[in-house]
Amino acid sequence: MLSNIENSELPRALPRLLARGKAGEATMLPRRSFLKLVGASGLALGAFPQLAAAHGSGTGQGASALKPSQQPSAFVQIAANGEVTVTINRLEFGQGVQTALPMILAEELDADWSLVRSRHGSNDAAYLDPIFGIHLTGGSHSIKNSFMQYRELGARARAMLLGAAAVRWKVDVATLRTEAGTVLGPDGRNLGYGKLAEAAMALPVPEKVTLKDPKNFRIIGRPTSRLDARAKSSGRQDFGIDVRLSGQLTAVVARPPVFGARLASVNDSAARAVKSVKAVLRVPLDRGAEGLAVVADGYWPALQGREALKLQWGTSTVEKVDSQRQLAQYRELAGRPGPRHFDADMAPLASAPRQLEAEFLFPYLAHAAMEPLNCTVTLNKGGAEVWTGSQCPGLDAGAVARVLGLKPEQVVVHVQMAGGGFGRRFSSSSDFVVEACEIAKAARAAGLKAAVRTLWSREDDMRGGYYRPMHLHRARIGFDERGNILAWDHVIVGQSVTSGSVFEQFQVKNGIDATATEGMREPYALPMRLTVHHPKLNVPVLWWRSVGSTHTAFVMETLIDEITRGTNQDPVAYRMQLFRDKHPRHRAALQLAVDKSGYGKTPLPAGRAWGVAVHESFSSVVAYVVEASMQKGRPVLHHVTAGVHCNLVVNPRAVEAQVQGAAVMGLSMCLPGAAITLKDGEVQQSNFGDFTVARITDMPEFDVHIVPSAEPPTGMGEPGLPPLAPAFANAIARLTGKPLRQLPFNVA
């Protein structure tokens, strides 16, 4: 997500666009932290933001020059017993930031890791992405953008603890050092951080701090168990769906069968008669649609109420997309001229000794996170509070304020642990949050005062849109007998995921959405002409884990492989030759996977073939060498060896997990039934019975190897996904002699 944004331009403009979503800088957080601290009988280390400002003006320390995102108070709490609680400025939804960000901070704080805890933040200004200036979990940016931030936060907190010890002992601070949560004096005296936190809190926040030499890291780089491992292995971890407020009601919504349709007639008498149904409310829905929310004492009666509704929908005025017609439309579009992303001379195409023409198809895909979408809203005199697993709490807060007629500072979004998300929780229309607020508003108008949790069924979630867009690619490639590519004429047809959103002006240039072309051509210096068409259709689309690379990596890596097969060349050597010395990380990742897999050396069991693919996304490179076979006419993936280059690794255990997990999602794309299709405007799939995701029986053996590096870390939430499907397809093509050009695979 947002992978192609120029970092330099985003902070300037986007915060202004999203300003309505930002909470006041000095109003909300301090009050909440203080209340929280009293309850927890702990102390926040360092001044609260507005106190820091006071310090700055009073003492000339200049602490006010620090932004809230740079001040330890919003991020570090140290209890009297020495427990350190680190607040994360991101959503934890599986990727492991809830452990990695505290590791980074604890490293510079010199904390005792066994006493480190973690918690989620909110839409407070302190939790803005320090580079982008918005609240965002996406684009595998959490570690990349917050590595220095969390190091500095830890170092500032450590400096304040040292300062407090120096005052206590009346010694020069330069004679003190720290070790695992303790300040040590020159004479053997020592004090735990918990005993110094209160005094440290009164000190000004230092602006400049010295960071550790990375060779002295003892937490960063060490394979570390997740902080939430125990809670998540015992049912004790609460997610957004588990929020239980006093008297809370549950709403289930009858949404139209076609996106954007409205109600033609309503008979809700049977629904209202269901025991414990409190209200049936007509509410405006996403994209100009409307629907009925059945509000009850719990999900089950609300669902029974919804099933008892007798509704007719007016669908005559909305566009009814049909996948078959859409494919014909896309094919027709692909033949037309359009805006160009690359524009190499195509003259050599006609005279090239070898020609290759190919068409690729990719369906809509649902994110299908395991936790169905939900959002809980309370309205009170002071404003609104929202509990949800959000990737963009600031954007969502702005939407809440607009829907409810509130000021931004009257809205708090409590970010909840999320059961997956993969991009679905970063909706530029804040669709599911807005819907929950509309329902809360209608419930309040109907006299219901309790909090309302809007909960989606699996079917609602799967049929609710915001899919990875359907795409068609077409390529004409001219090359010679040695595999030299002379001209590559390429067309992409697919909806833009940012069209019509606040992100459009950053992502769409010259009519081309950068998220649709990311991963094309690179890292191969090919003479390419790339034409892009973005049709507008009545199907909501969105980023989906690894975004454009979900299709571009497949196209690029299978076509490159096809050229090697056509010219009898080794697919590894051919790629290495194209990388030359321009792409050392690609070379290193691929070489590592090759070496560890035994590719080219170890003989494979009969019926198996090697497959290779390498792809960079979100600044990290992942190479796969896989073993696959055909079993009873079905492609089977047996073994995957990964070579990963993500620069410095914060938590190797998490990187391994992310590569495996992303690869499984990539594998899911290959399996029969991994497609969302529409007929006469209606989504045809509804649950895990007709929308396939990988199961344990699909899981290959899997080894992950990481290239050592000391460069600033890059993200790993997404880059493991793109190269899996092409590596698998390349292995199968070597067995069958036929290239695979569709996802899911069409081997019939």
Partner: protein
């Protein structure tokens, strides 16, 4: 009113007898460790034990639980159950969870599976896969699930 025995405690639930056990647990009794994933016995997130058998609580009505014992993730992993404790510890040791949402169901399936084995019997890889195939993990933690189930079986031997 239906009497439910959950984790050894008797509860009286005032709900439609067709209410799935899942929603009685979550919405009526406030026991949220058991998760809602699909509502159709397709994903396994809601797995609990009914008289020791792994069942999908999202489609099993509370009327089916009359006179039977329901065991949920909260009790299976609280240290009192030998097999559940071994599975819990293996899950922690191997850092299985990512988002963690499906893991209650995974652990309940793994626990029922290991309880079904003759004492000392080590499961084969194919048996582990077959036992766990009904539980979807969208984060793709399957490699570590395999390792954790086998490791738990080893500690129980």
């Amino acid at each position: 009113m239906i009497a439910l025995n959950v984790n050894g405690r008797e509860h009286t639930v005032d709900a439609d007898p067709n209410t799935p056990i899942l929603w009685a647990l979550r919405d009526t009794l406030g026991m949220t460790g058991t998760k809602f994933g699909c509502g159709a016995a397709l994903c396994g997130a809601c797995t609990v034990h009914l008289d020791g058998q792994a069942i999908r609580s999202c489609i099993t009505p509370i009327s089916d639980a009359a006179g039977k014992k329901i065991t949920t993730i909260e009790a299976a992993t609280d240290g009192t159950d030998r097999v559940g404790a071994a599975v819990h510890e293996a899950w922690v040791k191997h850092d299985v969870a990512q988002c963690g949402y499906c893991q209650s169901g995974q652990i309940m399936s793994a626990t029922a599976f290991l309880k079904s084995l003759p004492r000392g019997k080590q499961p084969t890889a194919a048996e582990v896969d077959a036992a766990m195939d009904g539980n979807i993990c969208r984060c793709g933690t399957y490699a570590r699930i395999r390792v954790a189930v086998v490791d738990a079986a080893r500690t129980l031997a």
